[in-house]
Amino acid sequence: MSYMRKPKIVHPGLKKNALGLTRRDYEGAMSTLCAGCGHDSITAGIIQACFELSVEPHRVAKVSGIGCSSKTPAYFLSASHGFNAVHGRMPAVATGANAANPDLYYIGVSGDGDSLSIGLGQFCHAMRRNLDMLYIIENNGVYGLTKGQFSASADVGTKAKKGETNEQPPIDPVLTALALGSTFVARSFSGDKEQLVPLIKAGLKHKGFALIDVLSPCVTFNDHEDSTKSYAFTRQHYHPALEADFVQPADEIMADYDAGAAIEIDLHDGSRIMLRKTAPDYDAQNRGLAFAYIKDKLRLGEYLTGLLFVDEDGRDMHAVNQTVSQPLNSLDWDAVCPGSSAMPGILSRYS
């Protein structure tokens, strides 16, 4: 746990991005989470991704629900507007906000309790609408703020700190997302920044709903020996299926990819995702096969990670609605009010 705010001194040698901003311009308030909490690593990943993408901080809208994870939007991008909603209802707020202004980057941060229990319905319907947002679940299998109850993502057989064994099957966010038509589905681990940061970048740039389920151990209530969401267990059981590199429009592809092993996916703004397969028989562009493969591995106790599915051709909420390209919140009075001249025509059907 941090107990002292870092002084805001910008070292002259600190690296600047295309906007002339340093990494520190993307930080937020001091975290109040427990020392060693996986969530803080994800916060750091978001900061790094936004810095490296040169995103204008005030063009980001941060949304969250209730829980430890949902506190974290206060800890990054202090120059962004944030909306800390009620428990499990962040997707609705994001939907309304996006309906009014789709031109911002939307970063939703949620937890396994927030998304898979109280907010499961809203989580599902946001995916069904293919809402254009990055949706991160900081998944630790446990309720932290209320001191250690199992969440809906707790595995069968995992033990609570006080000894109780979970016997109910988990709801897996990745399988749920694949079943409901999410157009970008990823899983990662808070302890693997190399994997996580490119995923966050790709998710931000993806046009449509981008889910990243991040296994993020709770050091206080779920990091003990018989837990399946501990650091040790996660490290042992997670298997990258695909490594994703994110390539900005202006950048050259520098890495050396073996022919046939890499898949290039073009994003709407001209950037690209380069997928490198580590599991040769995995297909991240076939929803059905991806689902079956991930489920098989889960049965063996293995968490497959990386960008597990992506479809850049999905139509988002506005495409389906045929909304005008200018954000609705910036339309002029004349564009929305038909004026007195229209009234006789309207009233003719009532006389």
Binding site: A79, T95, G96, A99, L328, S340, M343, Y350
Partner: protein
């Protein structure tokens, strides 16, 4: 026929049509009502329908009132009994000297016998079976045929019916033809077999010029269109559904680019009411005007987010088209049972501005006002309509629009203003009116803050500090006092005696006004105040102070408006006499007259 003949009554009687729901009777009945309206005769229609798709009893009541009364009178003069299942009670409802029309295709039921009612039989099913093909068509046309008979019996001009049919079916001329054929069948049969016209009949007047027949939900939707609402989120619920349907219809015409099909609006059908209100808050947070139409059960589900909107100070407009509670209650019946729910919705200390329209005209005006208030006050605002206003067709003055009007977006800091500021404190009361300044996402980094439902201080930062918490809560109290000055004031009529007066709300208005004119004819002149909003303005307190006794007329069991007056004014509760109507049907003047007569008599004796 040697039945007792009713005395001649022109333009002042009630027609009730007893049907089976799902048979298309609603459109036939509204055709009948509209034809009377076009004869210049003030008319009002009330639809009493079941919470069901097909097969259950449904009634439509049309009152013609040459004096312009708009509430139910409590009488039925002509009954069209098309549902054998309800013959008994339909006949019993007819006033002595009245008329009942039934389908005589089958032998007359033993139930349909009453000496003081003229009973007219016509073989509607037989006529339609001989003239139309298809089961569905025959059922539909039976309804149109009885309208034809009524046209002859009531002396309605046939040309008006022809015009209405050709307007309604302008794109389907064959349907217009079929409907006209059915009208003619009924019309000719009535002329040939009955004494036409009846002593109860219609005669041309000029009292509907400048008026329209419109339902409150359509009028409220039109208000949303004109107020510039761009985001609507909702979950279907009777009786509010037609509000969003109408909004979409208006937007398809007036907010859709003819060439590209691009829409300057976004309507989201949410997964439930919890999501609907969340979307409304999200869109308003982003600076769009957004609203949700719902009814009592929906408001119950929304209550957590509504408290959030109050505390985090996010605008929202909520239309609660009230229906009968508690719980699922009677979804297709009317009541004013959400007054307290709306005023104090959500846990913790919360209070919300509530507007009370009395008719569709006010639904339109108050919809526009609600958006202005929500953005000015940065808080959720309720428009508390009800099923009677929302779903029935009311005669009201034509809606007008003043092109000089501009929306009030409230205290929003833009890019230039933020550029000049050293800091931005979201919940700081700079002007002393309790209303802080807000910023919209995406405009300027200096405007950024964290909107939260957890404890926060004047700067917008998280707090668990007692003094900081209280500072914000006390400012919200001041803001509510400001709201009392901004909401629509009450309407007061008459300068009656000081010992007693009447106070009412919303759709009780017509019944109260008619009751007052009846009482006035008896020498009892009472002043009347209709409150139009909560918080109550100073005029409400003054009115209560001026009178020794105030009859509070409302449509719920628990006297919710009276409770709110006791809680929010300095009135002596003993002064407020409840007059309550809560059977689910719209209140009639008879209920008000009866209650006041009785109370005045006992009051005089005491």
């Amino acid at each position: 026929m040697s039945k007792p003949q009713a005395a001649e009554r022109i333009n002042d009687f009630v027609i009730k049509l007893a049907n089976v729901n799902g048979t298309g009777s609603a459109s036939a009945n509204s055709l009948l009502m509209k034809s009377i309206f076009r004869m210049g005769v003030p008319v009002v229609g009330k639809n009493f329908f079941p919470s069901n798709i097909q097969g259950l009893p449904t009634w439509y009541e049309i009152r013609l009132s040459r004096d312009g009364h708009i509430s139910r009178s409590g009488d039925v003069d002509i009954m069209v009994a098309m549902n054998a299942e309800t013959y008994g009670r339909d006949l019993a409802e007819v006033s002595p000297g009245g008329v009942l029309i039934y389908d005589s295709t089958w032998p007359r039921s033993q139930e349909l016998i009453r000496e003081d009612v003229t009973i007219l039989g016509m073989p509607l099913a037989k006529m339609c079976n001989e003239n139309f093909d298809g089961v569905r068509g025959r059922i539909l046309m039976k309804n149109v045929a009885y309208v034809g008979a009524l046209v002859a019996l009531l002396n309605i001009e046939l040309d008006i019916i022809k015009d209405l049919l050709s307007e309604t079916f302008s794109s389907k001329p064959r349907l217009a033809e079929a409907n006209m054929k059915a009208i003619q069948l009924g019309y000719d049969y009535a002329l040939e077999h009955f004494q036409c016209p009846l002593p109860l009949r219609v005669s041309r007047m000029d009292k509907t010029a400048g008026h329209i027949m419109i339902d409150g939900n359509s009028a409220a939707a039109l208000g949303c269109l004109y107020a510039g609402a761009t985001v609507g989120a909702w979950y279907p619920i009777t009786p509010s559904t037609s509000l969003m349907d109408a909004f979409r219809t208006f937007c398809d015409q007036y907010r859709t680019d003819e060439e590209t099909g691009e829409r300057r609006f976004c309507v989201v059908q949410a997964e439930d009411e919890l999501a609907a209100i969340g979307m409304v808050l999200g869109a308003n947070w982003m600076g769009a005007r957004a609203f949700t139409p719902t009814s009592g059960p929906g408001v119950s589900l929304m209550s957590e987010f509504i408290g959030y909107g109050y505390y985090a100070e996010v605008p929202a407009v909520i239309f609660d088209v009230q229906r009968v509670g508690p719980s699922t209650g009677m979804p297709t019946r009317t009541q004013q049972c959400d007054i307290l729910l709306a005023a104090y919705c959500s846990h913790g200390d919360t209070r919300h501005p509530v507007l009370f329209p009395a008719d569709p005209h006010e639904c339109f005006e108050m919809a526009v006002k609600a958006f202005d208030l929500a953005e000015r006050l940065q808080t959720p605002v309720f428009v508390l309509s009800d099923l009677d206003i929302g779903m029935n067709d009311w005669m009201c003055p034509k809606l007008e629009w003043d092109d000089a009007y501009r929306w009030d977006r409230g205290k929003v800091l833009g890019r230039e203003e933020l550029e000049k500021m050293d800091h931005f404190w979201r919940y700081h009361d700079a002007d002393g009116d309790g209303i802080p300044y807000r910023t919209l996402p995406g405009v300027h980094p200096r405007g950024a803050y964290f909107t939260r439902g957890s404890g926060h201080n004047a700067r917008g930062a998280y707090t668990e500090d007692s003094d900081e918490y209280r500072e914000v809560m006390d400012r919200l109290t001041r803001k509510f006092a400001t709201a009392a000055e901004l909401v629509p004031g009450p309407v007061t009529i008459g300068n009656g005696r000081s010992d007693a007066a009447v106070l009412s709300v919303g759709s009780c208005d017509g019944a109260v006004r008619e009751a007052l004119s009846i009482l006035s004819a008896e020498g009892v002149n009472l002043s009347y105040m209709r409150v139009r909003a909560f918080p109550f303005s100073a005029e409400v307190q003054a009115f209560l102070d001026r009178h020794e006794r105030v009859f509070v007329v409302e449509q719920n069991r628990d006297a919710q408006l009276r409770t709110l007056l006791i809680a929010e004014t300095r009135v002596d509760p003993g002064k407020l006499v409840p007059v309550l109507h809560y059977d689910g049907l719209p209140i009639g003047s008879d209920c008000v007259v009866g209650a006041i007569r009785e109370a005045m008599a006992t009051g005089a004796a005491a």
